[in-house]
Symmetry: C2
Subunit: 438 residues, 2 copies
């Protein structure tokens, strides 16, 4: 089994991620986050928000409607230019990505393929009671446009000075013809992104700054530097709006492909929206009174790809000692950074006996107020440690038959497997301290 298969199986088995609409045979490349995946994803999403929005004085967030006025997508260029080249089979009408077909005949029925045509990636829908061109609208194909369209309203409400950013997180939709590789490419996915507004003369400085911040974020997520690469996108290859773009590419088991992006979008979007809407989108310099359109640096973080990469990085197979002295057996351990792990602590009473439960349960109730905790009293302690290793729980607390005598429990570290005897009264502080060291 290659690493992707291992991750996909573990994700399904332990409730991280499973196929969407599975009981109906699935829906091509749609995935649902299960109990553990939902926590993992939420931890990443919240940590990003804390780090890039709440802790910073130069960033504010917005949370916009997914369906915007179709005029937004006309002005942004998406209606015209957000497309993939496709060819259609003249016989069965199946369509394929023109840049990905290997032969002249239809891979489905062997029929003759037609000429290459552009296929727009925006999902269409209809608002209101009729289904015609007038009521047609699009599901957003990126987060960015809302941050441009709302720029004047945000500016008026919060009166920030340049440089400052507007951040957003949420679902976007792209009608990809060839999605695939688990959660790497899907038709709907979550992005985390900000538009950072700067003076044109300073764009290079801010571009470099945000590239460094992206490195720091990846390190914070436990992604090793030797696993990803900064790829400068050349002239002619960049999106229509960008003067400089960097892709952060990761070495997935299926090849080196995009993880994050960093683009200098110039004042392209604000200018287009100003022209198309007739509304003044300019920033007024509070000192000089000058009015001008800020330029934009845009770091984009795929949330689902972050989850995928976090799982790939965390996955380890190791030899671990068994209960038998000197014996070893393999263990699978997900070495998530502790802030990211779905459960922080598992409480494991050595047996189901009442005398252990009456100590373990109150401890569980107390710790659960602060941390996601698991409680497991089934099977052998060795098997339970393996289960917690496999879902990346940083600490296991074992309540045993000594506990009633010494008022202490055993705390086991996921990565080192070292065990420490800690007084019950000190457990909360011990865990808190371990979890703050990120």
């Amino acid at each position: 089994m290659d690493l992707m298969e291992k991750i996909t199986h573990l994700a399904k088995r332990r409730g991280f991620i499973f196929a969407g609409s599975d009981i109906y045979g699935g829906l091509a490349n749609s995935w649902d986050y299960g109990p553990l995946g939902t926590e993992l994803k939420k931890n990443i999403k919240d940590e990003w928000w804390r780090r890039f929005v709440r802790e910073r004085i130069d960033m504010v967030g917005i949370d916009a409607a997914l369906v915007m006025s179709p005029k937004v997508w006309e002005a942004s260029g998406h209606v015209k230019q957000f497309s993939d080249p496709l060819v259609e089979c003249k016989k069965c009408h199946m369509r394929f990505r023109a840049d990905q077909i290997e032969k002249d005949a239809c891979a489905s029925c062997g029929g003759e393929l037609g000429a290459e045509k552009q296929f727009n990636l925006l999902f269409k829908t209809f608002l209101g009671a009729t289904e015609d061109a007038q009521s047609q609208a699009y599901l957003r194909g990126e987060l960015a446009q809302a941050m441009f369209v709302d720029f004047p309203a945000v500016l008026q409400a919060v009166r920030r000075r340049l440089p400052f950013g507007i951040a957003s997180q949420g679902r976007v939709f792209r009608n990809e013809i060839t999605p695939g590789n688990f959660i790497f490419r899907t038709r709907e996915f979550d992005l985390m992104e900000f538009e950072y507004f700067v003076r044109e003369a300073e764009w290079q400085k801010h571009f470099e700054y945000w590239l460094e911040e992206m490195h720091a974020w990846l390190a914070h997520c436990g992604v090793k530097k030797e696993h990803y690469y900064v790829h400068e996108i050349e002239d002619g290859e960049r999106a229509h709006y960008s003067k400089r773009t960097i892709d952060i590419e990761y070495d997935y088991p299926f090849g080196r492909k995009e993880l994050y992006g960093l683009a200098y979008r110039t004042d392209f979007d604000l200018k287009n929206h100003m022209e198309s809407s007739g509304r003044d989108m300019r920033y007024t310099d509070p000192e000089t009174g000058d009015k001008f359109l800020p330029h934009v640096i845009e770091p984009t973080f795929g949330l689902d790809r972050t989850v995928l990469v976090a799982m790939l990085e965390a996955y380890h197979e190791e030899d671990a000692p068994t209960a038998e002295e000197g014996e070893k057996e393999p263990r699978i351990v997900m070495k998530f950074p502790s802030w990211m792990a779905p459960y922080k602590v598992a409480i494991l009473p050595l047996s189901k006996k009442e005398e252990l439960a009456k100590i373990a349960e109150p401890l569980y109730a107390d710790l659960r107020k602060s941390y996601m905790c698991d409680y497991d009293e089934t099977q052998s302690i060795g098997k339970r440690y393996r289960r917690q290793d496999e879902i990346g729980t940083p600490f296991c607390i074992t309540v045993d038959f000594e506990t009633a005598k010494d008022n202490a429990v055993t705390v086991r570290d996921r990565d080192t497997m070292a065990q420490e005897r800690i007084k019950i009264a000190d457990v909360r502080e011990y865990i808190a301290k371990k979890l703050t060291v990120k």
Copy 2:
């Protein structure tokens, strides 16, 4: 101005919520959350998740794709029955809700109205390269179906015993013909919901339990008991799947209307999905080995409506003392529960002077690591207090010219306007303590 206008104006002015796609003249009843509204909404969403998922041992979360297999919506009855009755004008083809028209002629052009027809509320879109019946899919019209469809996968991954729940939060879409009243009814909105799986014999007990929990949540959100009502939905009025439904209705300025819902959905959904998919959806009793379909209690919380009600409840106009001894002037104050307030603390140096900034800035930097904080050094201190009152900041910390001498600051309470002199070294603990008392 009535209260709704006041709230809408304040929401726009202070960046809580503003009209979506505004620069393009807006998109009917679409709203974007601005910087403060995003924080308010996120605080409510996260607190709900903490309280109902993370703190509970009988609840797990999922985060599903918005687009599911169309078979899901056929099995659930939505394709056939999720509709509003409409009439169409024979002349201009405008459509109206049949149960909301007041006269026989078209309200737009005066033309003759046709016969009543059912109009489905599911938003349609197309997956893949062709736009035909085969590729047609729907945006989810409720969260619930994913929790039913994923029930077997969740059960297998987490092995919970009855009773237990699956929770979810996220965007749903309903193609309403007459949305309106600010964020009360919009075409896309966020829900927070769980399906609580129980034994059929125990449904009444759990129904009552969750009704009490909904009361407790509303109290936690600062909603006064005299402002909302429990409305029992009678036979014939309930949704097609429900044997008992309660609406929690709130007295909005525009009338008494739905806020939350609590429904006993029986085993309707699991049974339908089992029949339609051919997959075994049953739960196996771990003691007896009996296999059966659990019954379902479903509490539904509208997130946007919670935001709206929280704003309505928080809004107060009061007489407040001015800087002049004995003088009073009106103040607008948003008395959000402190856990919900966008900013927890505002740091207000009395003037822009360097000697104050050098104390205020490190304090800001320190507190910001734990709480969303604002920093404001513009205009008079009285005006700044008013600004913070208007956005509901529980505590203002004033750094003044005494601070350098006594190493203390003034902490002002939003609701009582009482001021206390606190040593800088004690500020962090003082705030932490005040904020834990919810």
